[in-house]
Symmetry: D2
Subunit: 390 residues, 4 copies
């Protein structure tokens, strides 16, 4: 039964396999009048693009084509479909995988569910992380819609293996981590991560990591009790990303070790407005956004495809065997994962901002469109490295 759509007021439906002709997404529920170009999509895609240091050797241009929903540079209210052709595909790398399901990978469960003969093993098929490019493409639109309230979403990698961020960082630091090849929000951390990754690559191994997202200037009152609480919808969206195995917001698991008198957060006045003293709740109380920064974290397990030999079963002989995965794989999916988590958070917030009437359902007027363009430009230019520096 269908499972490839997400959202109620802003809906995405994705499709496509790693080694099929194309991957794509249909976004429905975008109000008319949003300025939107291919460059907007490409900007966001550039932060999950493979082919850089420490990420999969696959060199996709990831060029999006917008098939519908745009007229004269603005959305029309009709669904926007975006496809990305698969161009750099080497299916032969996967011949061994066909009969030797990879430990820690979706291979065997897919076979169990859909049948061996219906399983598109090439590049992981539908279970490939390649699918997440379409999420990032759709997320670009959600991010742009959120510019109406100047809501900005930024993510960084706060731990990799046993190395973690220990310094305090500003929102600016986090936002600028997109120009770090390892999504570190501090230069010193970047170096530590890089050392670790070089080691892992050499040994044919991989690392897990924790991604943190901070949302600046979120709209108040997002979330629909009791099941579509914002914390629930964020959890679902983030947990649907391949390799994510844990989710928390605010104090998260730490809160479970605390007393109420510690974990509760005093209600105070800030410049005459009601607010919270420490934002222990990570911007979410009663399942609703309360106006404080939204802060959430998720755990990525290590990339499951590794060169290091692992034990598995050969499905032809049903005998024990070993597999050394020789495809092109990131030593830590969490790095490129940051862009994907950002996109999922953007999609959930934009969906709920429409559900709450904060973003209009039908159309943006010219003033709103201009405000969005202005905020978007500032966002796009933030932290931009000077020419040649990257």
């Amino acid at each position: 039964m269908p499972g490839n759509s997400l959202g109620k007021a802003l809906t995405i439906t994705t499709f496509g396999e790693s080694h099929g002709p194309a991957i794509g997404v249909v976004i429905d529920g975008i109000p008319a009048g949003l300025p939107l170009s291919k460059e907007d999509i490409e900007f966001e895609l550039s932060f999950r693009r493979p082919g850089k240091l420490f990420v999969s050797g696959r060199r996709e241009k990831d060029e999006p084509e917008i098939l519908s929903g745009i007229y004269n540079g603005r959305t029309t209210g009709a669904p926007v479909a975006i496809i990305i052709r698969n161009t750099d595909v080497i299916s032969s790398l996967y011949e061994e995988v066909h009969y030797k399901p990879r430990p820690g990978h979706a291979d065997l469960p897919y076979i169990m569910k859909y049948g061996f003969e219906n399983w598109d093993y090439r590049g992981g098929g539908r279970a490939s992380a390649r699918e997440t490019a379409t999420r990032v493409a759709a997320g670009a639109i959600a991010k742009k819609l959120l510019m109406l309230t100047n809501t900005v979403i930024a993510g960084h990698l706060i731990s990799l293996g046993n190395v973690e961020l220990e310094e305090k960082v500003s929102f600016e630091d986090i936002l600028c981590s997109k120009y770090s090849p390892v999504r570190a929000s501090k230069k010193s951390l970047e170096e530590k991560y890089e050392k670790l990754l070089m080691e892992a690559t050499k040994e044919g191994d991989s690392y897990g990591g924790v991604v943190e997202i901070v949302v600046n200037n979120p709209p108040i009152g997002l979330g629909e009790p009791v099941f579509d609480k914002i914390k629930a919808d964020l959890a679902k969206a983030v947990m649907s990303i391949p390799a994510v195995v844990g989710f928390e917001y605010g104090l998260g698991f730490k809160a479970a070790r605390m007393r109420g008198s510690e974990a509760n957060d005093e209600i105070i006045l800030k410049d005459g407005k009601l607010g919270w003293k420490y934002n222990n709740a990570g911007g979410i109380l009663g399942g609703l956004t309360n106006g404080e920064q939204i802060i959430l974290r998720c755990a990525f397990k290590p990339t499951s495809s590794i060169r290091k030999p692992q034990k598995t079963i050969d499905l032809r002989t049903m005998k024990e065997t070993e597999i050394s995965v020789i495809g092109r794989h990131d030593p830590a999916v969490a790095i490129r994962g940051v862009a994907v988590v950002e996109a999922m958070v953007a999609l959930v917030l934009a969906d709920h901002a429409i559900r709450a009437g904060i973003i209009p359902q039908v159309r943006l007027d010219d003033k709103q469109a201009s405000l969005i363009e202005e905020n978007w430009k500032r966002y796009v230019n933030a932290c931009r490295p000077t020419e040649g520096s990257q």
Copy 2:
């Protein structure tokens, strides 16, 4: 916009406030022919009932009334509606709360979203944990449906404040924790938890805790890529519970600190069947159940309503004030939370088992009905303390 329904093939819609006439739930999508009685619902409700040691002083009988969908003791395929009247209501306890929003509580966000004048503050209104009784009632039906595959769901409290379960426990231990007043799966742990709670009660404070759920004998192949992965739907359902602030499965956040060669799990043969050596994935790979036990955990923050005075703002004067919450509240919501998490897991698994065609969508035949009754009886009788011992 609507947010009070969950599920696609088995749908629940809940309603009701803490101090309104009644709370209730409509369950749609139950196949015809399921033997179902009021006692089945009451059995599950008994494990989240208030009025026991260490839980809220509110003494609700929690008597469910089935309004529809049953004929001659079996479901008809029509929706089953269940209501529970609110009987032990003392709204006067909440007068202070009306103008002094509680730190860590939904009060202020609800006012921000719906307007002060539309906010039913009595007992927390719709944001009250009382709402979760309807989830447990619906969960009873889901649990019973899962008896078709002899799938049993059991939960326990693996940590309270800084005290945690350190011993290894069996599935039987976990299942039997339902008869522990603090949902401990070991007697020694029970004593430690009780000591902590007595201390907290005395000091007018509360504790957080971590709930773990283990699912024995889960169906294979549950989950619909890419957004309705079973891990995503479980996360949403569990995170929608009041006070839950974190979710993980399998290795969870620990995986983020590991290498792929550690976190991956060898594929092996068990009695000639394909399986995994350590179940590091907690029964879920590629977003699909793989046949191993499902293992997940969630973090409950401490009860936010505490007697200990806390700072807040008086909304009439917009001046700083203090509040000491005098309603009847549990010193640790995580305890009664175990039954609620079990229910949410049951609802998600039953929904997906129908989506995957493992539980029939339209009707159960007599043989299936008998099998369910038999397994249900065994489940109901498991661990039952001998008369007078509880």
Copy 3:
């Protein structure tokens, strides 16, 4: 699989059988701040109440109980649940039906789908027209929400058997038909209908009829291409009513016999505003409301339960037999059907008005609430017969 919910921004979920404890409905998505009372619901229910001339002899008080979602006389944003107890139930009247499926009735298809032993035959169970009372209860809320734009929905019976309305009638005439025992919008028609019905009753037979709905002052732009066009959602909602076998709007089936130059409607200026000359489109073009009155019609087949003996099969013997249905049934379901069609139209329009941002999703402010109350009072008092006249 679930089928008892309707709507996306304003959702109803209904439950209950004819001879079960109660029927009911949960309405989710109502903005906070709507003034709502039991009397509002009762007002609408009074127009489909059985026990009057020419309708089923069953004498239900149809007293609704609101279980949730109201605080201080206004909605809170939480779901509103309404139940109506079944009190005047005589199941013994249905013993014969148990084994002799009624021609033209849902009996046999329900048995085929859900199994004989799971079929609640008493009073038609879930397939009973009694279920429609919950639609009318929910419709009252939708109608009240639509008072924000002063949108008024009125229905009448434009034909019964071969007798049809031939005169021109005003919107006022149609609105006032609710006080006609046979939903006729003209006195002369009322007499003809009554004569026909007396005849049918005497002969143990029944009649079909056509219901027309006119919506005055509809919001512009309702409908979401391409599948949730307003014409499509209206068709679904109306066709879901028991005994409805046809739907059309505007020129309807007549348009199929016309030329484009006849059926098309000139675009003109009315008081400086763009409009259409003849409203051939019945207020709907391109699947969107265009601001003209919405005009639609639906065909009710004759009541299938009739006293006149009809041939059927005895399921015990699988032999031919006859059945004379002795329950209490209307000689023309179309009469009470008018209130039900009105309700379904109201629910669809309110759902879409929220989807289009015309009715706010989260809450109504005081000014909006007052406007609604004022328009609602005028609506409730319209056509009211002076005491003793009915």
Copy 4:
């Protein structure tokens, strides 16, 4: 808000404008293992293709490209995306339409809803009938799935203007009408239709018509009370087609003129199986399919774009003007509409067959796949004209 998806167990999401880069559809919920080729899609598309006699002069090859969800000629369980590039586009034909909304067309309502500046007027944009090609493409998959129960859907044009089919026709006649250029099921009727259309073309006018669909060998028990009754879902799907203004099944509007004793249908035994004597109900009772042939009809209004000058308003001057539509338009949309109605019926039936567990949700086994191929071949070859005859 989103409105471009339909179905629950088999979901389609469509996108694309008449003069944009492409139109397309994503179909989610197809079980794995269905043999599927581009040719299957093309076969169905060929029956709504423009460029023939009496249909729009636009000469699209309508070549579908399958982007996903297929591996080795069979579906994988992942969504199938199909796009059709727009190649024969002459936007200049629409310059006049930009400021002169066409009577009877979606132009003005789209402007009212989305704003003039966001309205893609070229070729009707999203409101163009071109969109229906994607429905037919998706319908091909639904039709193929229904081959599992050998369910065959056939449609024909039973009236055009005032000319109607008067003879009795067989299911074979109806099925073979796909090779008639005017979808007539009898040669004599074909000639009358052609005469009428030539006349209309000469005069720059158009005609409406009625399409009838007959479904042979439908599964029993399709439909989910009380809102997703099969009659309701069929009505919605069919009414969502551009230009459809009325829907009925079985006796339809005629039933409203009848007595119960006439309209009811005796339950009888046919070869020992329960059935109905006259199929007055058109295969649907109580909102469920009862195993008899499903028979439904819908009314198409005449093509609204006609050459004959009509009055409208020039939006630049807000003065009265005339428009003569010079695009390439069918003299009767009902003709190509037959293929579209068939597709919508197929999609609804396949969706419900999955919901009822009659078509498996997850995967077809080899035996089922073979049976489907065999039945599909017979269907494709039925009525095929010998070479050169068309």
